[in-house]
Subunit: 553 residues, 2 copies
């Protein structure tokens, strides 16, 4: 078989697998949106069947044979060519998949499916002991998964066909094995985080996060001090009238009718570029974005009539994810060149629109008059400055998902540190609640009153998502780097936003990030676009500037 034919067959198979996965995406979306409750069991069977078909086809030894034909050929000699990128990433996926025994995959699916239900019950009952055995079992399975994947991280191909050639090296990132070396030892955590952020390694993440933490902790302290001093001088807080109470977010907790939130949220989403002809916005208990396939990107939100940002910031966040999905090159659909590069980069797009754009003064200079006319009862006596200040109120809190921009990453760092300890076995699951509470006290100066508001607050571990949390902070760091670079490259972004023009930024993101698909590993992509490796300083600089203006720190 000649190289080109082998490549073509690989692409055809990749396209088919992606399309099959997109069928599961529709079923998954439907499950969260419109499925009748009585259909839950059958939906489980449908999802399992499609997943089984996918696994069966994705681990077909024929793929290994075809990869060996193409690898090392002239077709992939230019490492940045479409063919080379596709082959590199198809190899990566194939190697990871064939290394996981079917029994382990099934056991993980079964256990995490049950554990998520147990987690819901345990959190509702504030009963960590109930969840503990499930966490222990999941940790054990994830250790096994990690062990199976260790060799894949060295990018040694799975030699399931005789006569396999040595693989191409894929050193293109500072967070990549090139830095570590093919034979370098990897921690039990690394193969798991690598699943979500290809090339990321715990050792580098720890350094990055430590630097971030060193800046954030004093910043948060300075802000809370400033608020305390200001509140002492102005009993109503933040120059707001007494009717707003002393809560800096009070104006956001007035009555915002749901239908009007939908009108405003969809209007802004469309204006910043989300294409509703190729997408939808629905309501779910937990907001998400599902990039189903070409022309089909679905985002969701949830409305709280007494909390404006619950839906609005959520919509901007999911729109950010959606713009990335809608910006992928349709010509490459079904292949790595047409897919998002990592969870961290995905999160960078959502956080960029949610925070760098959507909590900025320039953005609201344009949108606040419309918001005030739509929410005329809630906002009649509120100024742009007051609204902007409320959107950027900082206060250390217990719950990650409602944390402000300054404290959010501290929540992630706590989880990043704890999950490594849990996985390595240094921290027995039984000791998690105490360790969690201690870290929250040290890091955020707050202590959870119970485990429901503490170590039971997030669903991730019950779903087997270990190594996933760091991508949230990577997303925040990348977002700040990308936005800083866009400001430099484009100039006058604030003026453009203030007149309602977001097209320049979107086009820059399309050209810089979206259209590349998986051409570069995440760290490489960031370095190429921003001229710097993944770095905490742009985020710190942006926060310092914003909070300097708001809090005089």
């Amino acid at each position: 078989m000649d190289t080109q034919s082998a490549y073509d067959e690989l692409i055809r198979r990749s396209h088919e697998l992606t399309t099959l996965g997109s069928c599961s995406a529709i079923l998954g979306w439907d499950e969260q949106t419109y499925m009748p409750p009585g259909a839950a069991t059958h939906r489980g069977s449908q999802m399992a069947l499609l997943a089984g078909l996918h696994h069966e086809r994705a681990t077909d030894p024929r793929i290994g044979d075809l990869l060996l034909i193409v690898e090392g050929s002239s077709l992939v000699s230019d490492h940045e060519s479409v063919a080379a990128v596709n082959i590199r990433e198809l190899r990566r996926s194939y190697d990871r998949r064939v290394r996981l025994p079917k029994t382990l995959v099934e056991e993980l699916a079964r256990t995490t499916s049950l554990a998520q239900g147990e987690w819901v019950t345990a959190r509702a009952a504030n009963d960590f002991a109930r969840f503990r055995p499930w966490l222990e079992r999941i940790l054990q399975l994830k250790r096994e998964e990690s062990a199976c994947l260790q060799s894949a991280l060295g990018f040694t191909p799975a030699h399931n066909a005789p006569g396999g050639k040595p693989p191409v090296s894929h050193a293109d990132s500072t967070l990549d094995p090139a830095a570590v070396g093919q034979a370098a030892p990897v921690s039990v955590y690394d193969p798991l985080v690598d699943e979500y952020e290809p090339g990321a390694r715990s050792a580098q993440l720890a350094v990055l996060f430590q630097e971030l933490r060193r800046e954030l902790v004093p910043m948060v302290l300075a802000i809370t001090d400033a608020i305390r001093r200001r509140t002492a001088g102005h009993p109503a807080g933040l120059n707001m009238s007494a009717s707003h109470g002393s809560d800096g977010e009070a104006v956001l907790k007035r009555f915002y009718p749901r239908e009007r939130q939908k009108v405003f949220g969809e209007g802004v989403a469309a204006a910043i570029g989300f294409d509703f002809r190729r997408g939808r916005l629905d309501v779910t208990a937990h907001p998400f974005c599902s990039g189903v396939g070409p022309g089909d990107c679905r985002i969701t939100t949830r409305y709280d009539e007494h909390h404006f940002t619950e839906a609005f910031s959520g919509i901007l966040h999911e729109v950010g994810h959606g713009l990335y999905e809608q910006g992928l090159d349709v010509a490459h659909y079904g292949t790595p060149m047409g897919e998002a590069v990592s969870l961290g980069v995905h999160e960078s797009q959502s956080r960029l629109w949610e925070n760098a754009v959507g909590r900025g003064r320039a953005f609201w200079k344009y949108w606040f008059p419309l918001a005030r006319s739509i929410f005329h009862e809630a906002l009649a006596d509120v100024t742009l400055d007051q609204f902007h200040a409320a959107l950027n109120h900082v206060a250390p809190s217990l719950i990650r998902v409602s944390a402000d921009e300054a404290t959010y990453n501290l929540h992630i760092i706590v989880r990043f540190e704890l999950e490594q300890e849990l996985l390595s076995g240094n921290l027995p699951a039984a000791d998690l609640p105490a360790a969690w509470n201690q870290k929250y006290q040290e890091t955020l100066d707050v202590t959870p009153p119970d485990d429901a508001a503490g170590c039971l607050q997030d669903i991730h571990w019950s779903a087997g998502l270990i190594g996933y949390f760091p991508t949230y902070t990577l997303g925040n760091l990348y977002a700040a780097q990308l936005f800083t670079q866009a400001q430099t490259d484009l100039g006058g972004l604030d003026q453009a936003f203030a007149r309602g023009d977001f097209r320049g930024l979107l086009e820059w993101l399309r050209a810089s990030v979206h259209r590349h698909g998986q051409r570069y590993r995440p760290a490489t992509l960031i370095e190429r676009v921003c001229g710097r490796k993944p770095d905490h300083r742009p985020l710190i600089e942006a926060l310092r500037q914003k909070y300097g203006e708001l809090y005089g720190i």
Copy 2:
């Protein structure tokens, strides 16, 4: 391999195929309800992929091998046992599938997909010439399909494995080959209608429909005469006030707010037994019912604020289909014993609830007071009698989907006769418009002003659905037979309906029809339940009684 193991594997494969089909059902439902328009092309790829996987697995020669092991064994010696029924029907499906060459299946899928779009355009432009070549191509492909399936109708197994044993005979219906004989010639039409109504043959259908027509034509004439005489005496028609105009349906064309129609329609649907925990009601351009799988049955409707029956009768109709789906035995899901028996029997359930129940006076004795309070503006000056009369107004018309109970089957008979002529080649497609108009004049005393209101009105032929129309009339006949029998068996149905109790009827339908799945072929099922073969007389008797009371005929 022993018989039981072979049977078990067949059941497992059947379950898997059904589950895979149910994934397509969700994608199909989504396409009609919530899919963004830009996703249409990708949805086509998803559907094609799943259909291909289904076909590949459904025609696996292994199924033929397994069937041969089980057929003739003691496991299936009792022809009404679960195992015998499942094997009989799995054989039927397998034989039909393996006889169709993949190229023909693909060509039909491609052509009908394009032809439906061409039909939309041709109908909108009232341009039959545009649609004609597509119709010709589809007819040619359906002739080829019929030729491939001819031998399957004799129930000769597809001997794709050596050493095949002779098959079990499946003579259990008067519309079955038993009456025709294994070697009897079948028309080119028979294999197609057999797809939708197993065992139905054009020769018997022609006799049945001819008898029906002989009764309906004079009945419709008598009613229209009565209306003409009455209208001459009462210029406002049907004892209604002048403000209703001379239109017997005028009260139904007042303003019925959409939200209130939804409240009323869902309320009635739930009250007669549709389980919304295991189903949904949504809005689509063309109403349908999709029985996705256990706990998941989705019906749709469309609202016209100036035509009460558009949504309401539609909801009752789809609820009838839905109650059948929700009444299938979940324990047999994924096998013939857990599936609806035919399109005709399915339609009997929808027409029974829509017409026999939902246009009856007893039904409205209970629901009219509620309707009048919900639609208080439209119905304040309307009596139960006036409302009931409007719901049963008869007038020959051009369009099938809005036809009344008396004329509806005449629309079907026209199509049944024409599609056989088209398929046999006796009627060239080019001559269809003239033949259509002539038949409408002869049968319904109306002539379409153009082809859009004539032979272009239905989507079916463009979708390759030839042999499908007769099942609508079979459904009406079965419905009348079943409802007549239920009245006899249960007694006091009118009194039960008048106090809002529909449970007795539903339980009777569950026990008589739903729980049997495909145990009996449709004609056999009807004969077992009603003591009579499929017969036009119960429908005629029911209509005569109803119109006797309303029109004095």
